[in-house]
Amino acid sequence: MAEQPNNNAYWAANIRLVTICLVIWALASYGFAILLRPLISGIAVGGTDLGFWFAQQGSILVFLVLIFFYAWRMNKLDKEFGVDEQ
């Protein structure tokens, strides 16, 4: 296939983006909400600490931002690499 090298670069860019997003995904849920909660327990939010907020609401908001960011970025990458649906 003539387009192969281009496709490989596109795929590498996708993997890079997914990796970054999943690091943030893990940090917001497993990190701040659970395992790293003691580290940020000094930050007070509405009668409790930031970790509790991440566990009940913050992580969900981060997930939302991540998915929309990924969709926006990938749809742009599709065009840059010429692999978008015409």
């Binding site: 996708n14 999943l22 909400a33 659970i34 997930f63 990938m74 749809n75």
Partner: protein, 593 residues
């Protein structure tokens, strides 16, 4: 007009709406029956996905799960939403590009093997059937409580309604009824929450009210709601609401729910209905927006309901006397009739003491004040959401809305599951394995007959629920996490993964998960046949059976890797297929009739 009549009118109106949509959105071809002709707008699909995903468990049970445990059960909030990040980035766009109708179809084609396809069909049917039982019984309970009909009659009505729009409209009919059901359930969930948040904190947005100060005129005015709640709970021996223990188990359980969510076929197939790959990505985001509207409210509903219960039981504070049995509010009486709520005046003083007997220092306090045990003996957590409007003394139409909302949540999920089951039978077994020459019309008929058969089976199982119904939800998530998710992911992300590796990996995940569950919960969940007591001391590395999903997934990945490296690489046309799945170009757009 009495409450039951009002409930009938509101629930009846919602059914009329679903029927109207069913007639308007009839399926004329297999592409419409399986994938709504791939012409669904990504926002609309997001809404349908939210209804598809949010089951009776999300609508009825989740706030209660959080209310009675607090922080520790945030795992459900994170687990049931975080899976969408995995789905949006690791599965949905590529499976949409693949452009077929079912999840086993991808497994079978990508791994060029009918045995892989059949293993996928088996996993899909086990997890979807176990899931659908809960929806049918949930709808039956909602009917019997709100419409005062026998729960058997209720269940038959529910399956009759699903029958009409699912058999007639397939995915197309289900999609647009799910949109209507989403609107019903989100309004029903939000309205009581807004009123309760206003009463307690003066903030009309429940999600913000959770972190606000108590309103003027309430006990504890001026202090944060969560501080007030923590104080009341610890005074009565309960665990603090905002703290938890065993963070590693919390993380493992969250991971289990996330991977399980991403691997559930009835949700994945929703992304086959949008016209383009780019839409599949957007649509996952929209799905989470609509899910978040409920999931950001749920923790507020949980905490506020818990606080309302505490102040109902202890109107004069913990230092004063508790509520007298004669003064219990009306909703206590109506719900006692269902058996989901019960009080027992053990010390015969006419007052109801609600506290945790095993809490620190409670034995001494009880002896000092003449308590002879906790007297709120039963409080089923499912009551919380259903009784919410009554607890907050809201008008009758809000109660009727809750009835319609609970039924909508159960029906929308049931329909999605039934479609996943019937399409895997008619498309993956009949069309791909048994009779590849079947005509388009023949397959559409087969799809409708499979759907009808699946509904009859689900109704039968709902009427005669196997004793293990509650535990099987753990099985459904465990199987999705251990069998389908890793296999789908490797099919996309590893060009080297071959048929032998994927099949061996899937079987390893499937069998290890079943064995681990059966060891502690009994063979096929039959009580008394478990080989080890279901207690923490017996767990391997301290992992409870409900948390096994990620371990099963790891086994699946590991076995698949080693088997695939020891066997020949997949043929060139399969490697080209993987290449094409990875890029959006050529996805093929919406289908015409």
């Amino acid at each position: 007009m009495d409450q039951t009549t009002l409930n009938f009118i509101v629930v009846g109106a919602s059914f009329a709406l679903y029927f109207g949509i069913a007639i308007w959105a009839r399926a004329g071809s297999t592409s419409e029956f399986y994938a709504a002709g791939r012409g669904v707008n990504p926002v609309v699909n997001g809404m349908a996905t939210a209804a598809d995903w949010m089951s009776a468990a999300s609508f009825i049970s989740m706030a209660g799960l959080i209310a009675f445990v607090g922080y520790q059960n945030s795992t459900f909030l994170m687990g049931w939403t975080g899976g969408y990040v995995l789905m949006a980035m690791l599965l949905a766009p590529y499976l949409r590009k693949f452009g077929k109708y079912t999840v086993p179809e991808f497994v079978g084609d990508r791994f060029y093997s009918n045995s892989a396809r059949v293993v996928a069909v088996i996993s899909l049917i086990i997890m979807s059937v176990t899931y659908v039982i809960g929806q049918m019984t949930g709808a039956g309970v909602a009917f019997s409580r709100f419409l005062e009909v026998d729960s058997t009659v209720g269940l038959l009505i529910a399956s009759g309604v699903v029958f009409v729009y699912a058999v007639l409209g397939g995915m197309k009919g289900i999609t647009y009824t799910q949109v209507a059901q989403y609107c019903v359930l989100i309004v029903a969930y939000t309205i009581p929450a807004i009123f309760i948040s206003l009463q307690l904190t003066g903030n009309p947005i429940p999600g913000l009210g959770l972190f606000s100060n108590m309103a003027e005129g309430t006990a504890g005015a001026g202090t944060p709601l969560l501080v007030t709640l923590d104080g009341l709970l610890t005074d009565l021996g309960f665990n603090e609401y905002t703290t938890g223990n065993s963070p590693w188990l919390m993380a493992l359980f969250t991971l289990s729910l996330m991977i399980g969510t991403a691997g559930l076929p009835h949700v994945i197939i929703r992304f086959f209905t949008v016209p383009r790959v780019a839409d599949a990505r957007w649509s996952a985001g929209w799905a989470l927006v609509f899910i978040a509207l409920l999931y950001l409210t749920a923790p507020a509903v949980g905490a506020m309901a818990r606080l309302n219960i505490m102040t109902t039981m202890w109107p004069n504070g913990v230092e004063g006397e508790p509520v007298a049995e004669a003064d219990l509010p009306d909703w206590f009486r109506t719900w006692s009739a269902t058996g989901l709520l019960a009080v027992d005046d053990k010390n015969g003083d006419g007052l109801i003491q609600y506290y945790r007997e095993t809490g620190p220092g409670m034995a001494d306090l009880a002896a000092e004040r003449g308590w002879e045990g906790n007297e709120l003996v039963t409080f089923n957590q499912d009551i919380l959401v259903l009784a919410n409007p009554e607890i907050a003394q809201l008008p009758g139409w809000v109660i009727a809305l809750i009835a319609a909302g609970g039924i909508a949540a159960a029906l929308s999920t049931a329909a999605g599951l039934l479609l996943a089951i019937s399409s895997s039978i008619s498309h993956d077994l009949i069309k791909s394995v048994i009779n590849p020459n079947i005509s388009e019309r023949g397959e559409l008929l087969a799809a409708r007959i499979s759907m009808a058969g699946a509904i009859v089976l689900a109704t039968y199982l709902g009427l005669n629920p196997p004793g293990f119904a509650a535990q099987t939800v753990a099985l459904a998530f465990g199987l999705a996490a251990a069998s389908l998710f890793p296999t789908l992911m490797m099919g996309i992300f590893s060009k080297r993964m071959n048929s032998a590796g994927a099949t061996a990996g899937m079987l390893a995940g499937l069998i290890s998960t079943c064995l681990y569950l059966f060891t502690y919960l009994g063979w096929f969940f039959i009580p008394g046949t478990n080989m080890l007591e279901n207690t923490a001391a017996n767990y391997i590395l301290g992992i409870p059976p409900t948390h096994f999903g990620p371990i099963g997934a790891l086994l699946n990945f590991g076995v698949a890797y080693f088997v695939s490296r020891a066997t020949a690489e997949p043929p060139q046309h399969i490697q080209d297929l993987v290449e094409s799945v990875r890029i959006p170009r050529g996805a093929g757009g919406a289908l015409n009739k």
